[in-house]
Symmetry: C2
Subunit: 299 residues, 2 copies
Amino acid sequence: MPLLVVGSVGIDTVETPHGKAEEVLGGSAVYFSWAATFFTPVRLVSVVGSDFPHHYRSILQAKNIDMRGLEVMEGKTFRWSGRYKDTMHVAETLSVDLNVFGKYVPRVPEPFRDSRFVFLANGLPSLQLKVLDQMNEPDFVAADTMNHWITESKPELLEVLKRIDAFILNDGEARQLTGEHNLIKAAKSLQKLGPSYVIIKKGEHGSLVVTEEGFCLVPGYPTEHVKDPTGAGDSFAGGTMGYLAKMGNASTENLRQAVVYGTILASFNVEGFSIERLQQINMADVEARRRQFASMVRF
Amino acid sequence: MPLLVVGSVGIDTVETPHGKAEEVLGGSAVYFSWAATFFTPVRLVSVVGSDFPHHYRSILQAKNIDMRGLEVMEGKTFRWSGRYKDTMHVAETLSVDLNVFGKYVPRVPEPFRDSRFVFLANGLPSLQLKVLDQMNEPDFVAADTMNHWITESKPELLEVLKRIDAFILNDGEARQLTGEHNLIKAAKSLQKLGPSYVIIKKGEHGSLVVTEEGFCLVPGYPTEHVKDPTGAGDSFAGGTMGYLAKMGNASTENLRQAVVYGTILASFNVEGFSIERLQQINMADVEARRRQFASMVRF
């Protein structure tokens, strides 16, 4: 089933201990879409400036991503520049220029409004709500957020939570939003705010999934060669939502498998800058790593 | 098969956000032994002072722990006092009085020297070596350590590593000893120093097991009610080594199951002060939680 994503398309400059990538394709909607297309067609809603390189658009179009929702506004494309130090855990943002993304109000094209699966990537909660207002009763909506919105837009974020099925966020955000350090308690508190499913991302330590039936635990894939962590969370969400959309329903069992696929897609993503590693792999590579992962976790 | 442990027996005073326990039974060998006896008889080698309460000795003796290796020296028993703040991650040590433990050189009683499975709890590496010198070619030796010995006794610790089969340590120690932040790389570096098996404990995030055949990943059990984390690592090691000793050999498959049991024992242990929670449970409780855990991780 078609999957809609609303998020950023940007141009990144990233420096890690393994090198530097300048003016490469980035943004939450890009990482998400690429990972999701391993499973299902994706409809992308975002904005770029008039300077957005034509070959970046071609790369996305070639990959079963419907780009009719990509607006082009006069001005410059969203740009982010960051650096990861030795531990590769946290990006130090060197510069952010929202450019056209700062003025953008997402418009979901008419043919996209019947999408059954929807992902709201990290963004202003009031805009996430505006997207939901345009949709025609989707079956399953998931959203991401970030620390900034928890501080600056909490009332709107709480409105978002009432209207989504799954909340995908990282451990620090879960703790910040609930005031609970224990992640099990934090996840249960988040469930009470609306979403039936809470997926807490713990970076290299994997993820904790809380459903109405209980917990699923998915460890991190043991990636030895992390080149650039940028987009790990979005490719994780893309693999997860892509698999759910392919299956057509978000049963607990499907969600469990989905999060495993999300983990695998994220593990490939961090092995290269931008989407370069995701571009090199095919579904056979994904399945091979998934089997290898399952054999590590089986007990 | 009988399992030998050499470690501390002490009296702890612990304060956490959930209460305070004063002058309770503690020490690495106590937590280890209690967890291990769910699977196999344990032979304990340690020291206490002449003030060691008789009822603490009775508690241990009643639990299939052979105490013939517990020396009583004139003086006071090892005492530790610590406090855990809100996050419950790291103990703040308020006081340590080594007392008789500071003068102790472990002596393995003659009937213990044929033990096939041996655990060297955290302690001075030169004393860990002295224990090994007294043993009659055990089948499987595991050891723990701590940051202090990595700094202060590195040459002796490296000697220990050459003579053991499994090294059980936490993530911070693995990084400190190898200089590798990536835990996969750190584990592989540690393997090169001697032990075929490296088990890296990541606290609430579970553990990473590296064997000659590859990785096993065991997530943390999602414990909602952590009352006192003291002894988590030692009860984990006890459950792990206890299961291996019961099975009689440390195949990769057995090790995988063993680490799951270690995880379960540690998850019970942190639900109470001292060994109070471990005293309340039986093997049926362990098996029930193990099945529940397996259902969370299955994929």
